[in-house]
Structures are given as structure tokens and as C-alpha cells.
């Protein structure tokens, strides 16, 4: 069975700081990878996804993530965060031929104005 680990449970940054949220998964086969974001009071939204091809994927709102297969990682990055990025971020993985999406524990990001 696959599992997903997000190393940082809470992150506090000032505006304009750079962001990197770690995500590691355990599964030996081909995977699809996702980052979802949940803004306060809103539902989960897809931030970006990786299926195949270029391991550096770009998502909405200036976010990007890099799939490093050798490290089983899919870290999320943003060069300069804004107050409006305050949210909870979830990494998720599914085996490419699977049927169960497995989520990490989430990282709660607070950006101070």
C-alpha cells in the first residue's frame, strides 16, 4: 500500500519569502501525484498534478512542484508567497493503474502580511 508523508505540519512565513513544502511517498511503481490546496472556509482545489513527462510541473497562482523519482519526492515551491496563500496544502499520490488516492497529513501555511 502506498503512503504519503508531509514533513512540515505548520509553516509560518512573511510575505515575499520563498516556500518549499516537502512531500515523500512510498510506492515502487508508476504514480500520479497531486498537490491540493484548501483555503479557509473553502473546498479542496487542485493546485497542480504530475502524470508523466517533464518532472517540473507548474500549477496555478505561481506554484510549481518537481517530481524526483529517485527520491520519491514531489516538493511544492513558490518563489515569493503572498498573504492570500495562507491555506492548508495536501500532497496526494495514486498508483497510475490504481483506484485509491492517498493523502498526506497536510501542511498548514500561514503568511504574515
Amino acid at each position: 500500500a502506498q503512503s504519503v508523508s508531509q514533513h512540515n505540519h505548520h509553516v509560518i512565513l512573511s510575505e515575499a519569502a520563498s516556500l518549499e513544502l516537502g512531500c515523500n511517498y512510498s510506492y515502487g511503481g508508476t504514480v500520479n501525484l497531486f498537490w491540493y490546496v484548501q483555503y479557509p472556509g473553502q473546498h479542496l482545489q487542485l493546485l497542480l498534478k504530475y502524470f508523466s513527462g517533464d518532472p517540473l510541473v507548474k500549477g496555478i497562482k505561481g506554484f510549481e512542484a518537481e517530481f524526483i523519482k529517485s527520491k520519491f519526492s514531489f516538493n511544492l515551491r513558490k518563489p515569493s508567497v503572498q498573504w492570500s496563500d495562507t491555506a492548508e496544502y495536501f500532497c496526494a499520490v495514486i498508483a497510475a493503474a490504481g483506484n485509491m488516492l492517498t493523502f498526506g497529513g497536510g501542511t498548514r501555511l500561514m503568511v504574515k502580511p
Binding site: F51, L101, R108
Partner: protein, 115 residues
Amino acid sequence: EADIYQTPRYLVIGTGKKITLECSQTMGHDKMYWYQQDPGMELHLIHYSYGVNSTEKGDLSSESTVSRIRTEHFPLTLESARPSHTSQYLCASSGQTSRSYNEQFFGPGTRLTVL
């Protein structure tokens, strides 16, 4: 506009009551899912369905039941609610795209409190 809907958004109810959480999607998706999320915790899959008359249990055991009589509708029922059922319940759906079945779209959630 294609979307996924959940009602009610908030529900406070007494122990022993029967409740049904509604989930509907207008995206034409055949796969639907229910997740349970405690505050500050990860999402756990409790039920999923591949299509009409198909239901499966997820990786987290749940006393709830689901049904899938229509493609667009996937209600979740608790026959006798208990305080341990207090949580947020998220419904999601996915469908065939050019690349994958695996991108899931989420509803706004139902926050359930059982007193």
C-alpha cells in the same frame, strides 16, 4: 456550470439520529468518493463507487453506508449518529480525461457535529 455539490454544509444533531449527507455532481463523472477529515488531519477514504450499483469500502473503516442508484448522486447515511462520527465529510468525483481517471474534484464538504 459543471460542479460537485454537498448538502448540508453544516449539521449539528443529537446522538441516535439517522442522517443522510447528500452529494451530487454535474460533471458526468462515473467515479465518486467519500472522505473523512478530522480537523488538522489527513483525508481518509471511507467509500468509493465506480458507477451505478457499485460501492466499495475505503481504507478507513466507517459505520456509514452509501448507495449509488444514479450516476450523479452518491449519498452517505449514518443509521444512528454518535459523537465519534463528528468530523468533516468530503465528497469527490473523477472521470475519464485524455490522460487519466485519477484527478479528483472535491465538493465543499459537510461539517458534522454529533452531540
